[in-house]
């Protein structure tokens, strides 16, 4: 196998383009990441935290289009549990930034009704897990009514909120909703992972005519990055090539992107050349970008936070097998969380989330 010839005894420093071994970094996950997206802008831009980037995107769209409104619990004067809607109620009034009673099915239903009659609402779930209460509205109405009405009514709604495993938030607050919603026809799903794509995806989602679910991660809100000053959006259906490489294609999204990047430092130091793709679009998958990568590397590792059963990884694996079987030199590996509720105890919780050493080991195994 070609990878075996290149790895091993040659020292990392002698291979072109590989950073020197002295640059080994073992910092924590949520710190500033170095190998981030290439922002197309040449202007200096401004530094923001991820939640501020979301807030900026939201504010700009609300200014631009008076039909855009936000509803959710504590989004008004409290500014949102994660401060994504901070300052918006003061600016736009508390009808456009609406505090709702605790009834997720109600305000999701409301948003659907408002969307069908001309508004462009953004629904905030305080935690994505709470949106399970709105599953009926999301599945039976949000995803369906454009279709069943024969195209007469559109539902340009954005449903967003933090999900994923946090720091000891307990099982009910560590749900991976992308796994439950991925099957609902008519929905689009995207996951943001950096301030740059958070703002871009937020704006694109608001402008989209389809119902879009924007998955944020509870531990990524304080990620800092320099983003462009000018108006930009990210494509909702396009994956992001984070790091080009040729040994293996690592497909990931949301928080796991940062775990993968962390593992990549070790891998690069050890002489591997992983190609890292943040899939961004969870439904539909950007099979074009993913396919081009697989045709180059012939090996796939999926790193996700969903459970092993029925998660994004499971669907992605099956899509890749359907479309790119001939290009694979090895079975697709998928690193996911176990099929257990997320425990509260710290060490146990860490054990259910895929950690960088696991990723390193998986790549080594894949490239043998």
């Amino acid at each position: 196998m070609r990878a075996a010839a290149e790895k091993g005894h040659t020292s990392a420093a002698s291979l072109p383009g590989i950073p020197r071994a002295s640059k080994l970094i073992t910092s924590a996950v949520a710190a500033k990441s170095e190998a981030t997206t290439s922002s197309p802008s040449t202007k200096p831009g401004h530094e923001v935290l991820l939640f501020e980037a979301l807030q900026e995107g939201l504010e700009e769209e609300m200014e631009k289009d008076p039909r855009v409104c936000v509803m959710g619990e504590d989004v008004g004067h409290y500014g949102g549990s994660y401060k994504v809607t901070k300052g918006l109620a003061e600016k736009f009034g508390d009808l456009r930034v609406l505090d709702t009673p605790i009834a997720e099915n109600s305000f999701t239903g409301m948003a659907i009704g408002a969307a069908m009659t001309g508004l462009r609402p953004i629904v905030e779930g305080m935690n994505m897990g709470f949106l399970l209460l709105a599953y009926n509205q999301i599945s039976n109405n949000c995803g369906m009514l454009h279709y069943t009405s024969g195209g007469q009514f559109t539902i340009p709604i954005v449903i967003r909120g933090p999900g994923g495993v946090g720091r000891q938030l307990g099982a009910e607050h560590s749900q991976r909703l992308e796994s439950y919603f991925q099957s609902v026809p008519g929905l689009q799903m995207v996951a943001c992972s950096t301030p740059y794509n958070a703002k871009g995806l937020m704006k694109a989602a608001i402008r989209s005519e389809n119902p879009v679910i924007l998955y944020e991660h509870v531990l990524l809100y304080n990620l800092k990055e320099r983003i462009p000053d000018e108006d930009y959006t990210c494509c909702l259906e396009k994956a992001e090539l984070v790091r080009p490489g040729k040994d293996v294609t690592i497909l990931t999204y949301s928080r796991m992107r940062h775990h993968v990047l962390q593992a990549a430092k070790t891998l690069i130091n050890n002489g591997y050349d992983p190609e890292i793709i943040d899939i961004i679009s969870l439904k539909p998958f950007d099979l074009y970008t993913i396919g081009n990568s697989i045709k180059k590397t012939h090996r796939v590792l999926i790193v996700e936070e969903c459970m092993r059963t029925g998660g994004i990884g499971a669907s992605l694996r099956s899509s890749i097998i359907d479309n790119f079987w001939d290009y694979l030199d090895a079975p697709i590996m998928c690193l996911s969380s176990q099929d257990v509720p997320t425990p509260y105890a710290g060490p146990l919780e860490d054990a259910t989330v895929v950690q960088p050493p696991q990723i390193v080991k998986a790549v080594e195994q894949l490239c043998q």
Partner: protein
Amino acid sequence: MGWRLPLRTALWTLRGKQPKATADMVRELSHRREVYSAVPCHLHIFPILKRLQSSEPERACSQNMDEEMNDFMGRKVSYSSQMCFIPEESTNSVPCYRLLSTHGDLLDPSSINELDKELCIEMYRKMVTLQVMDTIFYDAQRQGRISFYVTTIGEEAINIGSAAALNATDVVFSQYREPGVLMWRGFTLQQFANQCYGNEYDLGKGRQMPVHYGSNELNYLTVSSPIATQVPQAVGAAYGLKMDKKDACAVTYFGDGGTSEGDFHAGMNFAAVLGAPVLFICRNNGWAISTPTSEQFRSDGVAIKGQAYGVRSIRVDGNDALAVYFAVKNARKMAVEEFRPILIEALTYRVGHHSTSDDSSKYRSVDEIEYWRTRRDPVARLRMFLQSNRWWDDENEDLLRQDLRTQMMSVLHNAESKKKPGLSNLFEDVYDVIPQNLKEQEQETQAIVGKYPKDYPSDVPLD
């Protein structure tokens, strides 16, 4: 500002009695200018919390623990050392508003001057049309010509009476037993048939079961079967209307069974908090498939639930088209002008089966059904009123029914003979633009259907 609801007086009001006031209380009440009557329908207007019209956070009133009345987040509560539970039901049930007797006589004969003759005749004609359409579609289902149908027999007055009281710009979110509202707004018999047959002229492009009508043009949202999901959606539409300051309201219909769903509770609560201009019209027809209302809830029907959420409500005789008309007309005015939701409980009876998949004689007596069908028919009741005023006669009746039958036959025949939507309709409108994975699935499906045409219906075009 805030609500002032002395607990003692609330108890008495709910029990339907006058307060047993002491002299002190009377002085206190009149000082505060509060008067309660025993009849819940005549609720007095309370100031609506203005929070949702401004950007100022609501300030809590001062908490002075020495006052007799104490303040909990803007609501004054008085204390009592007499332990008193609010009874589960009041002595008198909520009275039911009606204008016509069961035999079609105006209960107040002088009110004839307020009635518009042309409007009454048109309402009647539409009620008959609805009745005839239902009968013929039901028979068509029994003959296997359409796959499924839901009749509105017995509820024509609610359908047409309420529809006539609304404006064309009011947005309607229905359950599935309100085609009369769509009919009033101009949906033709042919369009109803096209939807039931799912042919290429169906506005829904053949994607929904029969009776799941929808028309963007007529402001009638496409019917979605899950019970009560339309209730919070209507509140959302009303929220939009309020923001845009439109002279329109949202209207939502649901049955007695629908009031048990969480969405009903949530929608009502929210509409009250928001001050949304929405009408909640409940068709309390006694049955939710086989569940009678005695097993659906234990409250005094649905109208009483309004007060629990802070929503003004009324109970109306659902088989009296004129009463329904006036109640909805007034409710609409309040909703739009005062930015408040209104709950209307229309008492009626579901004469037909739940749907063509149901045989209601299995859980209710045939006598009961016959009684309501023959002796309490809302269509006949309005007819008796019209004929007693010489606004209608037997000849008009025969002509109308004959004409409708002929129209329906032709409409059915037309709908049947039209093609079904092509296969591409299976994949369109899932998203605004068809994505790659669906394009591939479409190609696969076309290939299979093209390869084994004998295994697929011959009247479905491949494109």
